[in-house]
């Protein structure tokens, strides 16, 4: 049996073997943590990189009004996100972030069905409101603001 030693004024007695085992375990965990933490941090994506890449923008000029015929849609790049603009039959513009709320595929406008459609799992959205109307998407598309300034189509964050 190992000799009992006094710690904390004799209130608690632990054996030498227990002490050594606990200390070894503690050191092992500490050492493991000290080694793994840098690896974890090393693998963490750099937030700064991402900001550069995302090139945050507030608004974007995507062309002349006449570039978009009524009843058509066009995908474009809005900062770091894919986006979609639709010109309805009555000439009105609607723009959305083209990221499906289901699993993040890029959606497109389908003229023959007059709907926004995701090819991945068949989700569909209303082309005027972006509301999810069929298939698995749980939420509407994020809307963007469209303004026509001097015959140019300007899209901005809503």
């Amino acid at each position: 049996m190992s000799e009992e030693i006094d710690i904390l004024d004799g209130e608690k007695k632990i054996g030498r073997a227990t002490f050594v085992k606990t200390a070894m375990g503690g050191f092992a965990i500490m050492w493991g943590g000290l080694t793994l933490y840098p690896v974890f941090r090393y693998l963490c994506p750099d937030a700064k990189d991402e900001e550069d890449a995302s090139s945050k923008i507030a608004s974007l000029d995507i062309g002349k009004v006449t570039d978009f015929s009524p009843g058509s849609g066009k995908n474009f790049k809005f900062g770091s996100t894919p986006a979609l603009i639709i010109r309805s039959q009555d000439g009105e513009f609607h723009a959305f972030k083209a990221v499906c709320t289901h699993l993040g595929c890029t959606v497109q406008y389908r003229k023959e069905k007059n709907s926004i459609w995701c090819a991945c799992h068949g989700g569909a959205y209303d082309p005027n409101t972006g509301k999810n109307v069929a298939g698995p998407p749980p939420k509407p598309l994020l809307a963007l603001k469209v303004e026509v300034v001097k015959e140019r189509v300007i899209v901005s964050n809503a």
Binding site: D49, S54, L103, C105, T106, Q108, C120, G122, P136, P138
Partner: protein, 361 residues
């Protein structure tokens, strides 16, 4: 003859003194394989291993020309496919080999499942096998992105989004794999490292363990064989009988691989454009088709839960129940044994029907 009998023996003795391999050779020479009407399924582990070797060799060859960089990845595969001598051949062997290997692994999985080879004392053989299957799917998933074509881009997007739905750790795991919030160079680099280094190291370790315990316990046999009286049981020696048959089967599997490679060389889709819409008719590889079709059917909300989360949880629990089958079907209860068989049949039917449905829709 350069070596006489005496020299040969001396040489063998020299090696034996240094390697102490005679117990292993002894073991190999005494290894025997049960002969019964289900013996044919024994070959599929071996076929998987042969195809794995093909993957290693062709994978290393592909690495010589492949460039894991956003602007060059697709072009480098195009170059391998079109202008490097026999590049198309090596690449097609790798792609077809991967698919055949996953098929062989699935056959191996289901045959051991239905023969109840997972029962005591082979629980760890089974579990290591399940982990090997997961690693194979990991190889498929990470390798799929590397050519950086349209379909691979969206397949990765979906795959990572699904994994991000896993409660608690999902977001972090997806972020670490993706290397950020969008799929880009970071993702390609990470997937490349995982595909060519992390997974192979894990696979080699796990496979060594798997094979070692298979040797330790000998081949598992179905119940009918075990219940036959000892003097009526039929065995054949592994060396040379079964081994020669193994080689024959390998040649057949190799020929099938070559025929597929020659007749349908693996192509490549248009380069991925992260801002273009997902192409119409996009589908994952066949081994993810059943899951893909299943996800399409889940409504947006199941009760208070988001449909995706529900789907991920359901499939997770189901897969866990299958993986842990040795714990709940120990062979002591006939009812549980039947339940395990039924679960296997349901899984197999689900996979076949949903895959076919997914392929046709």
């Amino acid at each position: 003859m350069f070596f006489g009998k005496r020299e040969k023996r001396k040489l063998l003795y020299w090696f034996e003194r240094r390697l102490h391999a005679s117990p292993l050779i002894e073991l190999a020479l005494h290894k025997k394989v049960p002969v019964h009407k289900h013996s044919v399924w024994y070959y599929f582990g071996g076929i998987s291993m042969l195809l794995l070797m093909v993957q290693f060799v062709t994978g290393i060859l592909l690495m010589v020309y492949y460039v894991p960089e956003l602007g060059s990845a697709h072009a480098s595969i195009l170059k391998i496919n079109s202008s490097i001598e026999f590049g198309w051949f090596i690449r097609s062997l790798h792609s077809w080999g991967a698919n055949l290997m996953i098929l062989a692994v699935f056959v191996h999985f289901f045959s051991t499942y239905f023969m109840k080879a997972y029962r005591k004392p082979r629980e760890l053989t089974w579990l290591s096998g399940v982990l090997l299957l997961v690693l194979c799917l990991g190889f498929g998933f990470t390798g799929y992105l590397l050519p950086w074509d349209e379909v691979s881009f969206f397949a990765t997007k979906i795959g990572l989004d699904i994994s991000s739905k896993t409660p608690f750790i999902g977001e972090l795991v997806a972020l670490m794999l993706r290397g950020g919030h969008n799929i880009g160079q970071a993702t390609l680099s990470r997937f490349f490292a995982i595909h060519v280094a992390v997974l192979p190291v894990m696979l080699m370790g796990l496979l060594s363990l798997h094979l070692a315990i298979v040797q330790a316990h000998g081949m598992s046999a179905p119940k009918e064989f075990n219940e036959t009286p000892e003097d009526k049981k039929e065995y054949e020696p592994f060396f040379p009988d079964f081994f020669l048959k193994d080689i024959l089967v390998w040649i057949l599997a190799g020929n099938l691989l070559f025929v597929l490679t020659m007749l349908c060389p693996w192509g490549i889709g248009p380069e991925a454009d992260p801002f273009a819409p997902a192409p119409i008719g996009i589908k994952p590889e066949w081994y993810f088709l059943a899951m893909f079709q299943f996800l399409k059917l889940i409504p947006p909300m199941v009760g208070p839960m988001e449909g995706e989360l529900f789907g991920v949880l359901l499939m997770g629990v189901y897969a866990l129940a299958l993986a842990l089958v040795p714990l709940w079907d120990t062979g002591e209860s006939e009812a549980r044994s039947k339940l395990a068989t039924a679960l296997g049949v349901v899984t197999l039917l689900f996979m076949v029907i949903f895959s076919a449905w997914g392929a046709m829709s």
